[in-house]
Subunit: 153 residues, 2 copies
DNA sequence: TTCCAAAATGTTACATTGTAACATATCATA
DNA sequence: TATGATATGTTACAATGTAACATTTTGGAA
């Protein structure tokens, strides 16, 4: 939780550097996501903010806040699951690598890992050969995490 | 179009080998998808069947038919786009490689290509190191096709 | 300090995608 | 042709997402 505050502060600083405003609501949304180990849907976050902060955020606003946070690279949208996760590298100051997401189909737990550059290069070559161009090489993979795997038997 | 019929026949044979039934409705749905160069949503296909075959298929039935066709590996579900495409390899008799999809974000055109095995192996290793297990290594990538890229300017 | 334009948030009313629960029709074959 | 399995239809919703317009808040400029 203290860790969460540290990250929020980082995010705040980062936004300031280019005149973006991390408003109280945006902060609450980001904080909700940082506190979760699993991917959350927009409506999950709405519920969380209501429970945790007693703050009612309408769906439209939530989607706008999520869009803002995504543009700031503070969160990622997982299209595979229609869910959102905080970026695992907010406090890193270097440029971020291309993210690769492992999503547990049972419990929505998410792990963000990085693809090495040579693999990405190969993918990009494949794509160009086929007459397409990669817009975002973010890759999301359907997985099952070990704890779910073992509990299912 | 003749090509479509050939593929449908293959699919029919393929289903017969394990007692699955490619009913007239299922055939119409598969045929619709084979005639399209782009990914279609369930409701797109419903519209297409109405227009082309004057056949009204309720949403529930459409989803069930799509599920059947997916289980038979005759189509793929693209989770990135919530859309469906016919498998590009229905008439191949060999086992299918892991599919990799390039999806044009502008026009929904889809290209199905194959990842080479060493790349897949690397991915799988990455995933296992992180304490997850790959359920389906199908990869979908947000792209833009060259014709859309050029027309956008 | 006050006023204004831009940015952020709220409201309403829908569109789209998908499914649960139950009813009916069709088929394969004993 | 009777019967159980398979396929399809119906109804009524749940979940996700957005368009259009209204209101509030905020950070400067006059």
């Amino acid at each position: 939780m203290d860790n969460v505050n540290t990250i929020i502060k980082h995010a705040e600083q980062y936004c300031k550097t280019h005149g973006a405003r991390l408003t109280p609501k945006r902060k609450k949304v980001l904080s909700s996501m940082l506190q979760s180990t699993k991917a959350l849907s927009a409506y999950d976050i709405i519920d969380f903010c209501k429970r945790e902060f007693n703050e009612t955020i309408p769906a439209m606003s939530m989607y706008r806040i999520l869009e803002f946070l995504e543009n700031e690279h503070l969160i990622h949208k997982l299209k595979l699951a229609n869910k959102y996760v905080a970026c695992a590298h907010i406090t890193c100051n270097h440029d971020h690598a291309i993210p690769q997401f492992l999503i547990c189909g049972q419990c929505d737990k998410v792990r963000e890992i990085s693809i090495n550059k040579s693999t990405i290069r190969k993918l990009r070559e494949n794509v160009e050969t086929a007459g397409f161009e990669l817009v975002s090489p973010q890759i999301e993979m359907n997985c099952i995490c070990l704890s779910c795997k073992h509990s299912v038997a």
